[in-house]
Symmetry: C2
Subunit: 346 residues, 2 copies
DNA sequence: CTGCGACATGTTGACGTCAACAGGTACAGT
DNA sequence: ACTGTACCTGTTGACGTCAACATGTCGCAG
């Protein structure tokens, strides 16, 4: 029979090709291509015949061939660091959803550790990967020595402004200011801060903004407690703060650390919010069920993801750089972990 | 000059090709290919010359062309549902890491909602996507009417055994038994259960195993409290259980629901573990910092992800199906949320 | 009845890569 | 010297697709 066996072609798995469809439908390959791509100028009857043939043989266009021919891959690369962090995960989720909706595939490249080499390796991967653009979800500033392949469009999800690429992010500074001002307005003398990791720009922005807000209100700026996003580091910070009666208000750079902090305060017999008020950052799903329910800064990861994709697609289709910075507003969600201090100076 | 401008080729972005490297190095394209793929029989000097040429022009092999030629894409598709769930995220993270280490790319396809159509759409995507195999992280049993493209290797991360594909998962049944027995051994009369969503096989396995364990010990099986993995649903369940003095031990199908439950119990003045013991499932990072620290079942998502990739790769390279089921053992982590009941029948 | 635009289809070739084949050279064993 | 084997390199063609360029047909204005 005409159906030749597995032998012959290079790869093992060979689905039906455009040519097969063309033969069955009695048209040229080009017409099949036209139908597949929804081009104009195809007779309705012909189109039907082709579609039928496609269905019978189970035709699927070969992305590799298409990409080779057109130079377009309909795919965007996402470089992510530490998928397990709340923000990254949510953002990735939103990015994936947005990308799929416009027919783009997601090429996920994890950065295994935060050495320069790992980051470079990730970029190299994407260099030979078939992607039309890159979204960087990496939470480190270590992108210096790294060369982005050729003129690949790039969008960075980060609050730093030191790249030449468009940036999309939650408005960290605004959120941190909201959190700090909220505590001051409640009557607290000053606000302590448990920071995120040094290398994270988000963390840095939150810290800077907290400090600036305190200074703007003429308050003392207490020493920063170091943290690394983890619940454990929040717990450590909590143990250190619990001993100090002066501490009546704490702003932690994320919710997970806030959880650890709450736990440490409980253990040490400091009540929240009666003795100490706590504000987090992220508004992860669980935050509303902390004990007590956590006042925190809500971030719109969905919106960030969607905007990142939008921006990247626009970069891909346009020729010139548009260097806009897209900050998504954050908002304070007041729950039960904050209250006026017990002994207000009055 | 020889360097022709942007015009000419189809796509806009054209990096250096094998031919360019060949010209510079003064060899044939085939030799460049050999160097790129580490083939034997290339003279050391020649290899150096080629490598140098590669570096000068910044050559990166074109994955699309390679895939077209070889029929191999060095890429695996991951179909994931609800990225934001703890287990899925961790597993995806591990999968990505494992895949990258062996030079495979990850093609992430989210299932936007849990309708059949959405699942089918995801598969279709991967059908024309360039992937060598698929890992299914979808937490639903709705894979019935779905046709997996051709003979694409598939690995399912799920506890159901109803597919013809290899399965890798944490040993849910074992974990649930451990949790239940732990509570019985502490002296509790019986154990209540807050279940995960109906459609989830993991949830179902945990529930079935909990029930079987109770029956094996001749205990009364209390009615199941419905949940949907969310903290909120755990809270609801907690409110319902808090009123019943009979309830002294609860096993929730995941940690997030346990958090909600703890909160509800606190609110209603039921102390944990003095009045009620609670066991979760997942051992998410935060669990150790709940109030009180949560006794829970630890899952090795890393191991599951690694095994899933291993299995898939083996499927890709071998011709026949190996239908083994790889269950990764779980273990109980005892913290402070469990204790003997106050009034042991003695 | 000529000509021109809108419609409909087909032919050719190239995207970048690698498998298959086809030389080669060098050196061992006979 | 002759054969065989290990090594090294080049030539050719095809993977499946689509852009560019043919050809057509049809209907309608002039």
């Amino acid at each position: 029979m005409g159906t030749d066996s597995i032998a012959g072609g290079p790869g093992p798995r060979r689905g039906a090709s455009q040519a097969d469809v063309a033969r069955i439908a009695g048209v040229s390959g080009q017409t099949v291509s036209r139908v597949a791509n929804g081009a104009r100028y195809v007779d309705a009857a012909t189109r039907e015949r082709v579609l039928l043939a496609m269905r019978t043989v189970g035709y699927r266009p070969n992305r590799a061939a298409r990409a080779l021919r057109t130079g377009r891959f309909q795919s965007i690369g996402v470089i992510a660091f530490e998928l397990s962090s709340v923000g990254t995960t949510h953002t990735l989720d939103a990015i994936a959803a947005a990308a799929v909706e416009i027919g783009y595939a997601i090429n996920l490249v994890p950065v295994l550790d935060d050495t320069d080499d790992a980051v470079r390796a990730a970029f190299n991967q994407l260099g030979e990967q078939a992607v039309d653009g890159i979204i960087i979800l990496v939470e480190t500033h270590r992108l210096d020595g790294v060369t982005v392949p050729e003129g690949l469009p790039v969008v960075v999800v980060d609050s730093s402004a030191q790249y030449d690429y468009p940036i999309v992010d939650n408005d960290q500074a605004h959120g941190a200011r909201l959190a700090t001002e909220h505590l001051l307005e409640l009557g607290h003398e000053t606000v302590w801060h448990v920071a995120g990791p040094e290398l994270s720009f988000s963390a840095r922005r939150r810290r800077t903004s907290w400090q600036a807000t305190l200074e703007a209100h003429g308050r003392v700026v207490p020493p920063v407690l170091p943290g690394d996003w983890s619940t454990g580091s929040g717990y450590e910070a909590g143990l250190r703060l619990a001993g100090d009666e002066q501490v009546t208000a704490v702003f932690t750079a994320n919710d997970q650390m806030a959880l650890g902090l709450l736990r440490a305060l409980h253990e040490q017999g400091r009540r929240v919010p009666e003795d100490v008020s706590v504000v987090g950052f992220d508004d992860m799903e669980e935050a509303a069920y902390f004990w007590p329910p956590l006042t925190t800064v809500h971030q719109s990861f969905d919106e960030v993801g969607r905007r990142a994709v939008d921006t990247l697609i626009r970069e891909i289709h346009s020729t010139e750089h548009e260097e806009q910075e897209g900050l998504v507003p954050t908002r304070l969600v007041v729950r039960a972990s904050t209250a006026p201090p017990r002994s207000t100076t009055a």
